[in-house]
């Protein structure tokens, strides 16, 4: 046997366990799920091929269209979380006394389970909860706000929790990006006459672009796939105002056992994710020469 083919075999042998796991737990579910999206399937009977029927039903379903709209609205989380995370990272990147405790505090929600976070925020959002208490104490409101009961603001209230929960994670990523920028570059900019604002816009932001791209893609995907907060805090209510596309898929799949339609909804969400990730790559990838 030639050396090169023997070496290839060895390489494939080492890769085999990982490839097997990927096949079983990633590629197979994606392929099978995509197939199911074109069938009627209720876990008991064998799937029946129905072509594009599930997709036609989805496009005729107002609830799905509203869920899609809500998922699109959820994308507002992306710029907000990115800007806040960058600003927070710049702030905690200073060597101030006790700064490590601040970093840890901002990171704490990331390591807290989403169910606990959901329960805490449900308490915070109730009419006699902390948030209404603070707003009343500050004389901003007279009557309590039903954050999760008012269908006009419930989605925003859930989105706020997503921002609060994810901020620490993105802050840490940006902090790593900031700490990779050499201090000498800032000193050179100081000697070139750059003020703090110019250093931020002309040095920090361009040099953070690879991190911004990564965080942007991750947060876009997380926003489109928003599910856990909705499931724990509102179950899609009130009046289905917090239905997101994935929550819709969950409702139809797990509750109604209409897996064909649920996976067709997921299929559409996946296409959205791919398109948004492409847009991120297209416009945020740093140009090299």
């Amino acid at each position: 046997m030639k050396y090169s083919s023997k070496a290839n075999l060895t390489a494939y042998a080492f890769l085999a366990p990982a490839i097997a796991l990927l096949l079983v737990f990633s590629f197979w579910p994606v392929g099978f799920g995509s197939y199911i999206a074109f069938t009627k399937y209720n876990l008991i009977d064998a799937p029946v091929w129905v072509g594009l029927d599930n997709f036609r039903e989805l496009l005729d379903d107002e609830l799905f269209l509203m869920s899609l709209k809500n998922s699109a609205i959820y994308l507002i989380v992306v710029p907000v979380i990115q800007v806040l995370a960058i600003l927070l990272a710049v702030l905690v990147n200073n060597n101030l006394p006790g700064i490590k405790y601040y970093r840890a505090a901002y990171y704490l929600p990331v390591v807290t389970t989403v169910s606990v976070i959901g329960v805490i925020w449900n308490f915070m959002y109730t009419e006699d909860g902390a948030l209404n208490g603070i707003l009343r104490w500050l004389h901003i409101i007279n009557e309590p706000i039903g954050f999760l009961n008012d269908d006009r603001i419930a989605l925003l209230a859930v989105m706020f929790v997503t921002i609060w929960r994810g901020l620490g994670w993105y802050m840490v990523l940006y902090l790593a990006g900031l700490q990779a920028i050499s201090q000498d570059v800032y000193e050179a900019a100081t000697l070139d006459g750059a003020n703090a604002w110019q250093k931020f816009w002309r040095i920090t932001v361009p040099l953070l672009m690879p991190t911004i791209l990564l965080c942007s893609i991750m947060s876009v995907l997380a926003a489109v796939k928003a599910f856990e907060e909705v499931q724990i805090m509102t179950q899609g209510g009130p009046y289905q105002s917090t239905f997101t596309a994935l929550y819709y898929a969950y409702e139809f799949g797990m509750k109604s056992l209409n897996f064909g339609r649920a996976l067709a909804a997921s299929f559409i969400v996946s296409l959205f994710c791919i398109a948004l990730a492409w847009l991120n790559f297209r416009y945020l990838t740093p140009k090299t020469k």
Binding site: V185, E187, A188, A189, D192, Q198
Partner: protein
């Protein structure tokens, strides 16, 4: 162009140690001043205080007769070349070099002209549209120098600019820097721990140690008349040999009882240190007995390291390449050129010699 005055300049970090203990130094207009010293001696901190990148804790710093202690870095008229080059990685060479002028809102045509002129001087015109990561170390260093030139500063500051380059490129860049200084005739302050750079580039050298300046002078002054043991040992390669001795009747007696005809006005029995450079030791028929440890062949010369009774460190002596090479482990006799010896007192300071007589054995 500008002269600099450092008057009792001090640096103390908050809740930390004092690292610069009151430095006094005048740097003349157009002078190439080299700060040299071992790691942690305070040379870079002093340079950064001049640049405005470190606060001055005490004393006064003047550039061009203006006290600049509280003047922001960008307004001091200084430009700095960093050891790491500190180029902006996301900008092209052209943008890197023109960044300072762009921030100063200079017209585009003026920036373009200044960048092109500097690029021509440094022969990097063909690199102007590349980004730093597409450049070699030497090219990056040129760009960093170009960025400094474009700003037309009164003072250039160099912080170990050649230490990341390989040996041959370092020699080449050293020559180019010397030429550049001649062309621009601007005041330059150059920090290095490399004594060859210090000796070859500097009009004058300031030798730093432990936050103090040990001695300031021209390279030859420092080499030929070191003020103390530190300067004597720091400059020169191989470094100066030190032999402990005792004053005996105005002359000096070595540990092996040999007496050298070096005359000092010190009382009998006082301990002193004799300093002698490797080129002022030679193999003779009689003299101080030494055992050869190893001989290094450098092409044009040979360096022999020998052990002498009563001297801790091996002594180095330079031998002509074509001459006799002593065998490792053999015993030789060393002649010391007493006319070129230095004597240092117990406090490490150089002692005045009364007279120098012919070579003694």
């Amino acid at each position: 162009m500008a002269e600099l005055k450092l008057k009792n300049l001090q640096k103390t970090y908050e809740d930390g140690p004092t690292v610069i203990h009151g430095i006094n130094l005048d740097i003349r207009d157009g002078e190439f001043m080299v700060f040299v010293g071992p790691s942690g001696c305070g040379k870079t901190t002093t340079l950064r205080m001049i640049a405005g990148l470190e606060d001055i804790s005490g004393g006064e710093l003047s550039i061009g007769r203006q006290v600049v202690n509280d003047v922001p870095a960008a307004k001091r008229g200084v430009a700095m070349v960093f050891q790491s080059y500190a180029l902006y990685p996301h900008m092209t060479v052209r943008e890197n070099m023109g960044f300072g002028l762009k921030l100063a809102k200079k017209p585009k045509a003026e920036i373009e002209a200044a960048v092109n002129r500097a690029a021509e001087v440094l022969q990097i015109t063909h690199l102007l549209d590349r980004k730093p990561k597409a450049l070699s170390g030497g090219q990056r260093q040129r760009v960093a120098i170009g960025r400094a030139i474009v700003r037309k500063p009164d003072v250039f500051l160099f912080d170990e600019p050649l230490s990341n380059l390989d040996a041959s490129l370092r020699v080449q860049m050293r020559i180019e820097l010397a030429k550049l200084h001649k062309e621009l005739a601007t005041t330059m302050i150059y920090v290095t721990h490399d004594q060859v750079e210090a000796m070859t580039l500097g009009d004058r050298i300031a030798v730093f140690n432990g936050g103090h300046i040990e001695q300031v002078g021209t390279p030859l002054e420092l080499y030929e008349s070191p003020a103390n043991l530190f300067v004597a040992g720091f400059l020169g390669s191989p470094k100066m040999n030190f032999l402990p001795a005792k004053v005996l009747g105005g002359k000096l007696q070595l540990a092996d009882k040999a007496v050298l005809d070096i005359r000092v006005d010190r009382p009998d029995g006082e301990n002193v240190t004799i300093g002698v450079r490797p080129e002022h030791l030679r193999i003779a028929a009689s003299g101080v007995s030494a055992v050869v440890d190893i001989v290094e062949h450098l092409g044009d010369t040979q360096i022999a390291y020998v052990h002498v009774q009563g001297v801790k460190e091996a002594l180095a002596l330079k031998l002509a390449s074509g001459g006799q090479t002593p065998a490792n482990g053999s015993t030789i006799q060393l002649a010391i050129d007493t006319q070129h010896c230095h004597v240092f007192g117990a406090d490490g300071r150089a002692l005045a010699l009364r007279s120098r007589e012919a070579v003694a054995a």
